[in-house]
Amino acid sequence: MKNILRELRTERGWTQADLALRLYVSRQTINALEAGRYDPSLPLAFRIARLFERKIEDIFFDQD
């Protein structure tokens, strides 16, 4: 699933480790999310949306 996570992160000057700490996940998960290799669970998607103060559908895009 495509997303704009990398853009949102870099806008705030955060490293992947910074974002991982804020979301209570590993840096590998952030790496996989940004590369589109992993789709977050619903609770994680909501945490991401709350952190960036956006709607989930404004961050993640269904490719179908």
């Binding site: 705030r12 000057g13 955060w14 480790a17 910074d18 991982a20 700490l21 979301l23 209570y24 996940v25 590993s26 840096r27 590998q28 998960t29 790496n31 996989a32 290799r37 992993y38 977050p40 669970s41 994680l44």
Partner: protein, 144 residues
């Protein structure tokens, strides 16, 4: 300015995220326990050569067995404390490794019975599992 305040809030020596910290802890524990296992096996072998009582032989065997149990506990703890993606990756790798090693051991057992091959030394089952597990985890594209 807002970004600078955010970074300062995290602090210059900010701790890693809990899943990253759990993984780092396991890597350290893994190395220590591997070294301890070598020491326990070496010491146990030396003790066994001089052991003339059952109690001594049990003690010589118990040391490496205890280290293996500690390793398994640390491994399970690391998986429990991992995040959702890493837990799923670890469990897939464990399932693949366990399945392949069991299948290979069963095949060997079949050849042992039918063709008279020597018995497979079961002490190598866990190392075989560890190797296949590592490959299975890497094959899932878990990247640093």
């Amino acid at each position: 300015m807002e970004q600078l305040r955010e970074r300062q809030h995290l602090g210059p020596d900010r701790a890693p995220s809990p899943p990253d910290a759990a993984r780092a802890r396991f890597m350290v524990a893994h190395v220590i326990l591997a070294l301890l296992f070598i020491v326990a096996m070496t010491g146990g072998a030396a003790l066994l050569s001089r052991a003339d009582t059952l109690a001594l032989r049990v003690a010589a065997t118990a040391a490496p067995a205890l280290v293996l149990c500690l390793w398994a506990w640390e491994f399970a703890r690391m998986i429990r404390r991992a995040d959702e993606m890493m837990q799923a990756a670890h469990m897939r790798a464990v399932a693949i490794a366990a399945g392949l090693v069991l299948f290979a051991a069963s095949l060997w057992g079949l050849f042992e019975q039918m063709l008279g091959l020597p018995a497979y030394p079961s002490v190598y089952l866990l190392p075989a599992f560890a190797v296949v597990y590592s490959v299975a985890l890497s094959a899932q594209g878990v990247r640093e």
